[in-house]
């Protein structure tokens, strides 16, 4: 490598690489043609909306459109921060997200460990098939079932009646709502969530267990010192992915469990944005809330990724 020739070489290389791409297009034009619809899709339905987020700096008016609406700088951010509804909705979202993380995130790990202790293949498959099923049902179906089971004449109140308890209006009570969200979420996704952990469990070297048995380690000790540490990288990655969407709870679940009676505890960012934005046309304000949600997610991801890199490996 002769350093003295660096400059002219680089220029040369640039021209060459430009040529390289042109040649590539000419030689493999079919590949470019093939991917064209896909690229169009990503531009139209991913990048254009991303660019459209610019209305967060506007007072967007439907009649004027994006080109003629007045620019307002950071007014929308100032507005939402001084808006009581925003803090209520943010609080609801953050609390439900936190409960889901504390109770919902570990649930599939526990279930995967229990699956792992089943010895017979057929038994294991049977249990798995049963637990995967709810994942494929829509939230409308699951929400409908939850409403029916928890109705005054529903099965839960029937069972309560056997023990002499009065029926409870579960879905209309504020203090019940978040628990119902967390439990129904676990019910639907616990089985499906085990798949990745089971794949990681299958990858553990059996020699480790054999050596542990020789050393006299009990099954519990094996779980504690071999199984869990082997799962840790998988757990970390899934945890980080979850953190990145911390405030995105899933519109369909909450929307299908929510009633006006539980708005005060259950109205989350996504349901609020739908009502205030799509139904009432407050485009700029709700876009700002949506952006705020993404920014929080990104900051959390960045912080936790740094923390994760200190002990384990992070996402990047």
């Amino acid at each position: 490598m002769a350093y003295s020739h660096e400059m002219p070489r680089q220029a040369n290389r640039k021209r060459e690489s430009g040529n390289r791409y042109l040649k590539n297009v000419r030689k493999h034009w079919m590949l470019y043609l093939m991917i064209l619809p896909g690229i169009l899709f990503y531009i139209v339905f991913k990048y254009v909306p991303l660019a459209g987020s610019i209305i967060t700096f506007q007072d967007y008016q439907i009649m004027k459109g994006i080109w003629a609406s007045p620019w307002v700088g950071l007014d929308n951010f100032k507005f939402i921060f001084s808006y009581p509804d925003f803090w209520k909705v943010l609080r609801n979202t953050a609390l439900i997200a936190l409960y889901q993380l504390v109770f919902g995130f570990p649930a599939p790990i526990v279930l995967a460990l229990l699956f792992n202790e089943i010895r017979g293949m057929v038994m294991k498959r049977t249990y798995q098939s049963i637990f995967y099923l709810p994942h494929f049902l829509s939230w409308v179906v699951v929400g409908g079932i939850v409403f029916e089971l928890l109705a005054t004449g529903g099965i839960v109140n029937v069972v309560r009646g056997w023990f002499g308890y009065e029926p409870v209006l579960f879905m209309q009570q504020e203090k019940m709502f978040r628990s119902i969200v967390v439990i129904s979420g676990i019910w639907k996704e616990i089985g499906w969530g085990t798949i990745i952990y089971l794949a990681a469990l299958a990858g553990i070297n059996p020699n480790l267990y054999e050596a542990a048995v020789v050393d006299g380690a009990s099954r519990w000790k094996q779980t504690l010192y071999i199984t869990l540490p082997s799962l840790l990288p998988t757990i970390t990655v899934l945890f980080l992915l979850r953190i990145g969407n911390f405030l995105e709870l899933g519109f369909e679940q909450i929307f299908n469990l929510l009633t006006p009676m539980t708005y005060s505890v259950g109205d989350i960012i996504e349901t609020y944005v739908y009502r205030a934005g799509v139904l009432q046309g407050q485009y700029s304000m709700t876009t700002t809330i949506g952006l705020f949600q993404s920014i929080i997610g990104f900051i959390l991801l960045w912080i936790f990724n740094r923390l994760a890199r200190k002990t384990e490996q992070g996402l990047w």
């Binding site: 590949l31 093939m34 619809p37 896909g38 991913k46 079932i145 798949i195 369909e252 299908n256």
Partner: protein, 288 residues
Amino acid sequence: MKTTLGQKLFTVVNYVVLTAAAFTMIAPLLQMLAVSLSSPVAADSKKVFLLPVEWTADSWIYILHRQDLWQSFGVTVFITVVGTLVSVLLSVLTAYPLAHAKFLIRKHVMFGIVITMIFNAPLIPFYMTVKSLGLLDSIWSLILPGAIGTFNMVIIRTFFMGIPSELEDSAQIDGCHDFRVLFQIYMPLSKPVLATVSLFYAVGYWNTFQRAILFIRDSDLHPLQVKLREYIMTPETLEVADMLGNIGYNTTTLKAATIIFAATPIILAYPFLQKYFVKGAMLGSLKE
């Protein structure tokens, strides 16, 4: 391996816990089915527990005669069939170049796609985009805006990258161009993975709800999930004549029947499909 008493005890407890939990996975569906097949009096007087009381198929006969339910069923079948075809085709066409080193810009394109997974556009600009394309109240708004699922496309790409390039080289020496290589060599070789991805897409389309309430006002174009939600939230639309007393259904039994109706295709397809799903979920997790 010696088994101690503690281990035996654990095994028993494990089976008991798993069986009880498995029961809670099935019981809600059984209960809905039982209610839908019970008489309205029994359903409302808290007698039904997992088995129908005072058997009657009246609720089912009633909902299966509802024109609007079949209309929305038709919409859902259409978007499931056409949407899955469109999605699989687009995903395959996108995955093939991205799986080839000879496609020089593949890293750039992949980067651009991954960005969209991290930075999701807020709902309103997404809505405005679809609106400005004139897709509101069009059945295509239920298909096109989500036509490629990045996760599914990456699964296909990962599989394509594992196909030995010798196959392709020899085909190209014989004068096959890329489209023929894709359709006549790659796609037949990737049948299992294509089956998995098709099913992922199909379930997604079958369960379409949010996009429909965002983009569709015209009730003739409402898919099944929206119709079901309407029945659940405003049972008046079910127009029950149960004040007459001698009819074998009411809103409770009808709601139960529509819930089972909407879930049935998934449940029927499930045993036969689930092995593909699990493979797909694992393939997806192995990317990188």
